[in-house]
Symmetry: C2
């Protein structure tokens, strides 16, 4: 949570001049978004989010991200969408950074999601998968199997400083996933970071998904596996099968899972746990002094990975093959 | 800039139940306020700031701060004010922290104030001084002469690591201020932290003052001296007498300065520069690893202090004795 780039009153007022979005009433940096600087902007017309893309985002990816958000909104999905300026541009420059004005999505993220939250998340994720099917841009997932191998190479040497036996676990899991990663499953655009932080609810009803800045083309069921990891474990580390069942039920009502997808779920869940374990481990080992972002403990995902490694059948996730 | 205490969706919804302030529409931590956690809260009724008071604020001072804000609003000052719950309480507890819901003040802080901003600031500060005169609580300024001595004792040993000759400067200035600090000037409640961050403007007109969490009883003209330091130096370190003249003119139009107050201004400015030099130096020398707040460089206030030490007459601030 941070604001990396400071935007002054003069700068935001000048920036807003190129839009038909009213004049500034209030403007405050928000403690949201690990990768970018975000401001909440109230104008005489509406509330917006102003995002400045910082160095961890590749500017070449921005037309994909912003185009996807725009596409999804036009297909009726609940999501924040970029606002075009008077010339029709959504991607702009502010304070030397790529920047976009984004519509404001009402709602709150839940910190302890219940089964009904999981059910609605499943439905909305499936709707998003279907709605994105005819989006005409694509983006490779840099954090899939090949990317994991890179992170393992960079982290393994210091892994045992973080947790005893972690180096062996990384190598062992990497070998397993390389050999067993499922191919041939339905692919499409996935969100790839649908943690509770990125899902808003209003009065118990899902109001939308945000933060598409990891979206990419990958196995659709892998997005489900990421959510099983992010939504269905309790604070004490226990897996909650009820929540998983409702998440999968919600998803399958909108986009039914094939037998192959269900059969692959344990491996996809291992991959998803491994992916977040690796990125957290990398950030943990490469903490920058004075950084504004609090690094997340990789231990949570070591535990989750170990859970999935012990799973014997998709039925343990509540899947009924 | 930071959010130290995380408030969940459930917690904010439950908290808001005790108010007649609508239900939550959006809730985001903002990167504002060095001492406290601040959230922007949009409800079905209005926008608010939710503040959780963190450990640097003494809870015993909160009735003074919140009472003062309420008093000032009732006297017609432009400021944010605490909102009372259904039982009439403004000071509450949330997530184990003292907390208050504060009305939202529209406007933007200016990063490069011009003479007209300074003029309006002077007027509003004077109005605030007059309006606070009949507020019935008081608070000693912990960061006045006696407090400076404590900070000098704590910092002097390492001061030369920060800037060559700083230790001698601290001792020398402390001696001067102890001997020459003016007594007998008009006192009252001062804001004591009226930096540009804490003053909002809308379409060029001052819309209000915020952040009264350093307010205290002290010499009224000392508040003016703090503002001369905070508003009237350029980015390159040069003092801008035009801005100072307009600030003083705005102030004196509402509350005329006596000859004694004008004569004391160079010493008050030295004290104000010294006070911020000391607190920045202390924070600089006592940086906490992993802290979310970026520490400000004390060098800016070394330069300002040196400027004031070279001042020969109040006329150098644009004062006409």
């Amino acid at each position: 949570m941070a604001v990396y780039t400071h935007v002054s009153a003069d700068e935001i007022e000048a920036f807003l001049n190129s839009y038909d979005a009213g004049t500034v009433v209030a403007f405050k940096g928000i403690a949201e978004g690990v990768e970018n600087s975000n401001y909440i902007l109230q104008t005489t017309k509406a509330t917006y989010i102003l995002t400045l893309y910082e160095k961890r985002v590749n500017p070449d990816d921005l037309p994909f991200f912003l185009g996807l958000m725009d596409h999804l909104v036009k297909k009726g999905c609940n999501t924040a969408a970029p606002v075009a300026d008077r010339k029709g541009n959504v991607l702009k420059v502010l304070c030397g950074r790529p920047a976009a004005l984004i519509s404001f999505l009402n709602g709150l993220s839940v910190s302890r999601p219940g089964p009904d939250h999981c059910y609605q998340l499943g439905q909305e994720m499936a709707r998003m998968h279907l709605a994105a099917a005819d989006f005409d841009l694509g983006r490779e997932n840099a954090l899939s199997v090949a990317g994991w191998q890179d992170l393992v190479s960079q982290c393994a040497g210091h892994a045992d400083d973080v947790a005893a036996g972690l180096k062996e676990l990384l190598h062992d899991e990497m070998s397993f996933l390389k050999e067993n990663w499922p191919y041939g499953l339905p692919e499409g655009i996935i969100h790839a970071d649908l943690f509770p932080d990125n899902v808003f609810f209003m009065d118990g009803a899902l109001s939308g998904l945000i933060d598409y800045y990891f979206a990419c083309n990958d196995i659709l069921a892998y997005d489900v596996a990421i959510c099983l990891n992010a939504w269905c474990f309790e604070g004490d580390g226990a897996f909650n099968m009820t929540k998983a069942m409702w998440l999968l039920k919600g998803y399958a009502e909108v986009r039914p899972l094939s037998n192959d997808e269900m059969a692959a779920m344990p491996t996809l869940c291992r991959g998803a746990a491994f992916r977040f374990l690796l990125s957290r481990l990398y950030d943990w080992l490469n903490q920058v002094e004075g950084a504004l972002v609090q690094v997340k403990d990789p231990a949570e995902y070591i535990r989750k990975l170990k859970f999935h490694r012990a799973v014997k059948s998709p039925s343990e996730y509540g899947l009924d093959l």
